[in-house]
Symmetry: C2
Subunit: 99 residues, 2 copies
Amino acid sequence: MENDIAAKKLAELGHITRLLIFRYLVKVGDQGAPVGQIQDELDVPGSTLSHHISRLVSVGLIKQVRDSRILYCIPQFDVLDELVEFLKSECCTEAKCKQ
Amino acid sequence: MENDIAAKKLAELGHITRLLIFRYLVKVGDQGAPVGQIQDELDVPGSTLSHHISRLVSVGLIKQVRDSRILYCIPQFDVLDELVEFLKSECCTEAKCKQ
DNA sequence: GATATATTTCGATAATTCTAAAAATATAGT
DNA sequence: ACTATATTTTTAGAATTATCGAAATATATC
């Protein structure tokens, strides 16, 4: 993963509302949750919520699947894993390290 | 770790220059690197670099230790580990999960 | 005390992001 | 076609953050 792409993902997680959205989805798991359910959970105006969700989608941390009128938001665990792996990668490649 | 504190740490990592600073220090390892060495590595004006480093320090991802005129920046691996752990915690506590 | 090196603070401008009301779109049922 | 529900897009003002030159501070050496 390139640095700028990782930075974007981290920046999206680095906002309290988006972090709460993402962590709620992490808790819910693979089946995901409808936008409306996230709205009930977090008590954020719809337009604000939609803005933040679309940012999370834009970096791939969430995927959306529509079931008629309901839009399910599904956390992408593999994208999160890759990001976490990136942060720890190349540790101490330029020195000896206790890790 | 509370959500807002985690969000702050993620936001600091979510900037290309700060991510490059932090990852350089991760590569260097526990002995850290002087501000000047980071500056040579990244080619950023001193005032800009200082600003970004102090933000990383403010959330605990970096610690600084002075040796006479030289200020060493040392990555705090435990803070990173805690953050990563937080992101993955409570996974699927509200549902069955493949993970 | 003068000079050199290392790093930060100040200050000003530019750029980006946040928030949420209002309007628009999409889908389904009557 | 009309109504209801679910969600997004548009828009605009407020707030925050980014950048970097210049000046300031800290420490060491001569």
